[in-house]
Point group: C2
Chain length 361, copies 2
């Protein structure tokens, strides 16, 4: 139950800035919008109590920055910090409604070259209710290409177009990352999801590269699924999957599906990893309606913090934190989103949940 998922499989090809042992690692931290500030504060408190040796650099991104006229919700100071620390711990943000606003997530992923979006999803039955108690899957989502390139235009008054882009280097690095991840974490199977019966060139390239690169990993079992039926099998019987590698948009959809059927999107962390940096975040959004109530579940962000600690080589703190979190959940101390009536269960708010984790460190 306490096996950690180490997403940084390719340590040699993704070098971190050389660290002196004992030196605090500078980390850019944004507190975000909506429930962001509450869950970030709770998460940082737990990380620090667990012995994380980090030097927090607060950066401002999100709604207020959009409103100040930065079209992607991020200004020059934040960029400077991210480019220097190369480690970003990010709370969810709110993008204002209306035209002219670019996705901050996509902008950061592309600007920093964070090509791999790693999303481990596990069921925590019987502690968190799920219909799929055995599931334990890692979705490795391509994070820079596909329709997310953001190239859209109005062709005529009534016709709009969006360009999907897939490149060979893009496919190669994500597919290789998935296989290396599998190997480094003792996982035995990698499944690839594409729709290459329709998109024979773009998705076809992803599939071809999967076959080519996969041939270098004879120890790993390989499967390919057309995304519609792959997603359907995942939703009905997730236990049959181990690592899934897939283009950006399919990865977006199947990771939310996996997280929700495992118990809640509120529990799932993610690491956005590139050669020169990494960003760690929950997969859920900023839930403005829930903001300011000390009610939100900090678990997704907290577990993203575990992934970050592993990434910066602080395994001991990562393990302490992860085990204490697990014990908290096992002890039935739950935020409202996963709370179910039951003899030993207790419904708590964001900060009480954080304190309960700290008490179990």
């Amino acid at each position: 139950m306490n096996q950690l998922v180490d997403h940084k499989a390719l340590a040699h090809s993704h070098p971190l800035p050389a660290l002196k042992a004992g030196t605090a690692v500078p980390v850019s931290v944004s507190f975000g919008d909506g429930i962001g500030p509450e869950i970030m504060q709770a998460s940082l408190k737990v990380l620090l109590a667990a012995g994380a040796n980090i030097a927090i650099e607060p950066v401002e991104i999100g709604e207020r920055v959009y409103r100040r006229g930065h079209s992607a919700g991020i200004g020059p100071e934040a960029w400077e910090s991210l480019r220097r620390t190369k480690i970003f711990y990010k709370a969810p943000i709110t993008t204002p409604q209306g035209g002219g606003f670019k996705s901050l997530n996509v902008t950061i992923r592309k600007s920093l070259g964070l090509f791999a979006n790693v999303r481990p999803v596990r069921a925590f039955a019987p502690f968190v209710a799920t219909k799929h108690p055995g599931m334990d899957v890692v979705i490795v989502r391509e994070n820079e290409e596909d329709l997310y390139a953001g190239i859209e235009h109005r062709q005529t008054d009534e016709v709009y177009q969006c360009l999907k882009i897939v490149s060979r280097p893009g496919c190669e690095r994500i597919v290789r990352y998935a296989f290396e991840h599998a190997r480094a974490n003792g996982r035995r199977k990698v499944a690839c999801f594409t729709k290459d019966n329709i998109m024979k060139l773009t998705d076809g390239l992803f599939h071809t590269v999967f076959d080519e690169v996969g041939a270098e990993y004879p120890d790993i079992e390989k499967q390919h699924w057309i995304v519609d039926i792959g997603a359907a099998r995942l939703a009905a019987d997730p236990g049959r999957f181990d690592v899934i590698v897939t283009p950006n948009l399919y990865g977006d959809i199947v990771s939310d599906i996996a997280a929700e059927i495992a118990g809640s999107v509120g529990l799932a962390p993610s690491a956005n990893v590139g050669q020169h940096g990494a960003m760690f975040e929950a997969i859920h959004g900023s839930a403005p309606a829930l903001a300011g109530q000390d009610a939100a579940n900090p678990s997704g962000l907290l577990l993203a913090g575990v992934m970050m600690l592993l990434h910066i080589g602080q395994r001991q703190a990562a393990e302490r934190l992860h085990n204490a979190w697990l014990k908290t959940i096992e002890d039935g101390i739950h935020t409202f989103d996963i709370f179910k009536e039951g003899s030993s269960r207790q419904k708590v708010g964001t900060s009480a949940f954080a304190d309960a984790v700290i008490a179990r460190l």
Copy 2:
């Protein structure tokens, strides 16, 4: 349990060729590849026994036609038949591997203007095992636009592109179809799934049109979901959804998910409907590995036949067939794919299943 789903909600705007009462309706029928011939023969036998008043016109499409050099797997005789009868009952086909072959399904949908792909999905618990006994949802999938336009090219040696196209008329007709379908079938909610936080123009247009057209239906409850979280909620808790309207690719994915978690993709029918014709098929593929064994489940195609009978105004035969099919399933007479050991259950092959339905007409 025996409420039929009538997909032909907009009868007035999708006129059928005027029929004399009692005249057999000409229907183009293809027997397909893989398990296609077995399940089509079984389905036709049941339809005719149920009193379907149709005149079968066999057309050849699929693998052999591809190999004869027709790039979309369909030749001039088949086109002539489809254009004349305007009603196509289609078994699954196999597209040969390799370049140069166009999707037959997409070609037919676009050439005949079959803009709405209607996919009713219901659970048949406790007779068919499912974790979601209450589900009863209709997915109304846009069927001509999106990435399915099939415009792909190689930009450089290493970069491929695919064009996603969304038009206002395309959005309007599918969204209106969904609302009319809901109203005509006593359904109270329509949910729209798009990814317009990323694709603000293309998916944004679909969402805008949903809001605009939806305003004309004050009696119907409207919801919009970003597709990732919408698909996740559908996979975890399908009972909360009623009608879902969504662009082509998302519809492809979520309809397979819905069908699989309801019990099996093998049970789900679909109607591809346009102003001047309609095509009825199962949502599953030709399963070549299962071919020739008299083992496949004909239910998806059979229920597509029910949708076809409703479409051509033969409600009595449709109801008879539907009720007999349901009784067969309730009596525990199951093909291998849905068979579970149990006191009163019996595992049968394709033709024995068809005979069991006929015995219950």
